[in-house]
Symmetry: C2
Subunit: 271 residues, 2 copies
């Protein structure tokens, strides 16, 4: 049994009663402030699809909606392939606790074939990971942060909350703190790695939480395997902040410069 | 009864049997090559939410997955509010024909309140709409294109398919061809307005089709009403094209410069 905390967090038990129904346990290692780190929840959603006996292909798109916080403890996941075509498959997934839905999702998987390709989002210039200081997580930091090694290049969390913010872009190197080869589930979690843009934009802490995240996977399984436990370069920025919601757009490149995933989320904020 | 073709395309009949179940008819006015224009289908999904008797708030996020082409004729839509909180609501929606699901969706609606705001995606410089020539739709063009007035500023559909493409960005002014005040449903449709980026990037026509689209609405109802039947500035670009799929990122501003919606889609392509 793999003892990496992420694999433990992803552990699902397939029900004997219904195909695609799983039970799992929230992980204290990936706990955020009032519930699990959203990226871990999204990874669990994806894990249920990957462990479904009828799976076709690899993940291409995943949308996860956080309808209510998960409580610490057991949860149920139901993954359903609602439409299977020749080389593509559409999924709906939901997580429930005590019979109430707290998370909904849709996923798209496909058998990818080699085609012409190009990238119009080249990796930005960045110093090497070893030349960037690792972010230290204070003893009062939330648990999930300690599971990642983050080396912020620019746009780190403000150290002074004086309302002086002027932009919403962050750039950092990141990988699992305890080495683990990249796969679709960890890439999904990492696409939700960025702290709320509104904190940076305003240099002010306000209540904020992701409502919905959509991640597109641009790499096939071999391209992801090539990354191993290497660093990813992550970049995120907000586009519009208005009347309680903002969007956050993120990119994740391998150190070799391959754009592995693009991700967008809509985030609630107060005041 | 409103006789605008878009309102006709959106017309849904609420079932007497089940709350949130509607029937509708595909529209020949919004027909694409082998099925309805995806933006019209996405607008129908949103319409089912907006006409649900339990609706709370206004649309903030919508993800629509095109699992199979709709056939011409009748379809059923089921909209379900799976979680209603104090000021937010999460929805699942699907469209079926002859009992088979062809479209899945999740939506998020919320009562928006005035807060601090900012835009980090200013409208790009552009000539006025009246200074840009209207795109002509040939007699053999697909039907839905004739429902829109498009004034391409840059990145128009290549006129020569010689493989000479070098970028994937298009910018245009657009509005309904027959005047209609902007609302969430038409904004949703317009967020799917852009032709496949792979055609521009390669200056080559290959089979391509949207698999999933996610649109975030950044404007509340009053801000949308202010637009009336004015032009929107639309911009779209691809980020990565790899092994059969590319993503397409779109922005829609009002002529006054307000970012009304951001949208992303993942698109299948061949070869």
């Amino acid at each position: 049994m793999n003892s990496h905390p992420f694999d433990q967090a992803l552990r699902l038990q397939h029900s004997d009663l219904r195909v695609g129904q799983f039970s799992g346990q929230t992980s204290s290692d990936y706990w955020n402030m009032v519930g699990p780190f959203g990226g871990a929840t999204a990874a669990i959603v994806l894990q249920s699809v990957l462990q479904h006996p009828d799976l076709l292909g690899v993940p291409v798109a995943l949308t996860v909606n956080f309808a209510a916080a998960l409580e610490a403890g057991e949860f149920e996941v139901q993954a359903t392939p609602v439409r299977t075509n020749r080389s593509t498959q559409h999924w709906t997934v939901h997580i429930t606790q005590n019979g109430a839905i707290n998370t909904t999702a849709t996923a798209f998987t496909a058998a990818r074939r080699e085609t012409w390709g190009a990238s119009d989002a080249p990796m930005p210039q960045a110093p090497r990971p070893s030349d960037v200081e690792r972010m230290s997580i204070g003893p009062h930091g939330v648990a999930w942060l300690a599971q990642y090694e983050m080396r912020p290049i620019s746009g780190s969390i403000p150290s002074v909350w004086d309302g002086s913010g002027s932009h919403s872009e962050s750039r950092l190197w990141l990988r699992d703190a305890q080495a683990r080869p990249l796969d679709y589930t960890s890439l999904m979690a990492m696409s939700d790695m960025f702290y709320p843009r509104v904190w940076l934009r305003r240099a002010t802490v306000v209540p904020a939480g992701t409502v919905s995240i959509t991640t597109y996977f641009h790499a096939d399984a071999a391209q992801i395997a090539k990354v191993g436990s290497g660093y990813l370069l992550g970049q995120a920025h907000g586009q519009r902040f208005n009347n309680g919601y903002f969007d956050q757009s993120a990119h994740l490149w391998s150190e070799a410069g391959d754009l592995l995933a693009t991700s967008n989320q809509i985030v609630y904020y107060k005041e």
